[in-house]
């Protein structure tokens, strides 16, 4: 095989592999991209100056369903101190999300990521995934999946630590 053909072969496979490996999750320390810029449908709360848990979920995702009561408890407990959950549904059909919320009512706001653009930007590696954001809009903690025995307590501790911090100027 001549050298140019070998180079072409390597390039072709790098490109082919690259299309499947274009995965980049938001990390602690990143700024949270403004959800309003991604065309989410639904009631978006005012996130400015709030500690926010952005939770990506879907009606077909059993662990997401299991996480909702815990997230609702956190919302009820910490909302008066400046915390909110923003539940972003990645369902293909907004009707699936609406039906789920009718049967599993929660006190936190939910929005629909119709084009899955926001979740694609987040690059989530599992469902559900959640990103805890401080008052200045910086992602501070990332949770992949939901583990009933540990995640709620971890979230509570992290929320407490962020609520205790000074509001950003």
């Amino acid at each position: 095989m001549n050298t140019s053909l070998r180079k072409l072969l390597v390039l072709a496979f790098a490109l082919a592999a690259g299309t499947n490996l274009a995965f980049g999750q938001w990390r602690a320390g990143d700024r949270l991209p403004d959800p309003a810029a991604f065309g989410l449908a639904g009631r978006l709360p005012n996130l400015s100056g709030q500690v926010v848990l952005v939770d990506f979920w879907a009606s077909w995702c059993a662990p997401c369903k299991a996480s909702f009561p815990a997230l609702d408890d956190l919302q009820k407990k910490y909302a008066p101190r400046g915390f909110t959950v923003l539940a972003v549904s990645v369902d293909d059909d907004a009707g699936d999300m609406a039906r789920f919320l009718e049967t599993h009512p929660v006190s936190f706001p939910a929005a629909h990521d119709a084009g899955q653009k926001y979740v694609a930007a987040a690059g989530v590696e599992a469902m559900p995934s959640s990103f805890l954001v401080d008052r200045a809009g910086t992602i501070r903690f990332v949770h992949v999946g939901f583990h009933p025995e540990s995640t709620p307590a971890e979230l509570a501790g992290e929320i407490e630590s962020l609520l205790g911090a000074e509001a950003a100027p």
Binding site: M1, N2, L5, L8, L9, A12, F13, A16, A17, T19, N20, L21, F23, F56, A58, W60, C61, V90, D91, D92, D96, Q116, V119, A120, V124, E125, A126, M127, S129
Partner: protein, 73 residues
């Protein structure tokens, strides 16, 4: 056909195969998570299939059910 042309043909085929590998992202698995995708969604059909299987294979109990493996039930 020259060597370069044959290698190019191989390259095109391999590239087509490589590009055909789709990565279904976690948030795109709604269809896969549908109830109709479950292999065990129909208990009656399961028991019938199981009966045919262990009778044909003479392997009663081969899937974790108690039995001697005589295939006589």
């Amino acid at each position: 056909m020259t060597r370069a042309a044959s290698m190019s043909a191989v390259l095109v085929v391999l590239l087509g195969l490589a590009a055909g590998c789709a990565n279904v992202k976690p948030y795109q698995r709604g269809t896969l998570a549908d109830y109709t995708m479950r292999a065990d969604r129909d208990p009656l059909a399961d028991s019938l299939h199981e009966h045919v299987y262990f009778t044909r294979e003479a392997a009663a109990g081969g899937r974790g059910v108690g039995g001697g493996g005589c295939g006589c039930n």
